[in-house]
Symmetry: C2
Subunit: 108 residues, 2 copies
């Protein structure tokens, strides 16, 4: 539980994805989050620790409570990667279009 801490690892786990969605709606405490899950408070806390390590989430102390906020900026890394991927796909279809166009021209 030490390595490869990045956003993609963060969203690999369904519980963490759920946590991210909940925090997207509003910042919450570990206890508040844990109420939404079947697993123990500590399990949720561990997920929060992982999410904190890869900076998807940021803890803010408020008295004895700790409110966890989502770091939208980090989430954008996924979007960025997806965008790169989509560009490659688009380029590929362009090439396919070229091939199809050439075939079309041969028909003429």
């Amino acid at each position: 539980m030490e390595s490869r801490r990045d956003v993609f690892q963060a969203i690999a786990d369904p519980t963490r994805r759920a946590i991210i969605m909940l925090l997207a709606v509003s910042a919450m405490t570990p206890n508040g989050l844990a109420e939404h899950f079947n697993s123990s408070r500590q399990a949720v806390s561990k997920h929060l620790q992982i999410l904190t390590e890869c900076e998807v989430v940021k803890p803010e102390s408020r008295g004895r409570e700790i409110v966890y906020h989502l770091n939208n900026h980090k989430m954008q890394e996924i979007e960025k990667w997806l965008e790169q991927f989509k560009q490659l796909m688009a380029k590929r279809f362009d090439q396919l279009d070229n091939v199809l166009n050439k075939l079309q021209n041969l028909k003429k």
Copy 2:
């Protein structure tokens, strides 16, 4: 190596992300892919197996070679999830805007 086979698990590994990017450019054989990595052919083959299981990739037999194609449709599941997330975030900012507007109104 049996469980939780979904797109998010697929893109959690950096080698698999690289494979996806390569296949986004053009369909390739396992050997062709393996040339781009330091790890063994079998390691790449295992990743392809995982990617096949979660339908991110589709094998097509061509004689003794097997050409792997990307399944763009499956990749869109990530986009879809990200879209849901962004909507929640947007809604949250709307609420924040509302609060700010109310404060603004109090000042008047």
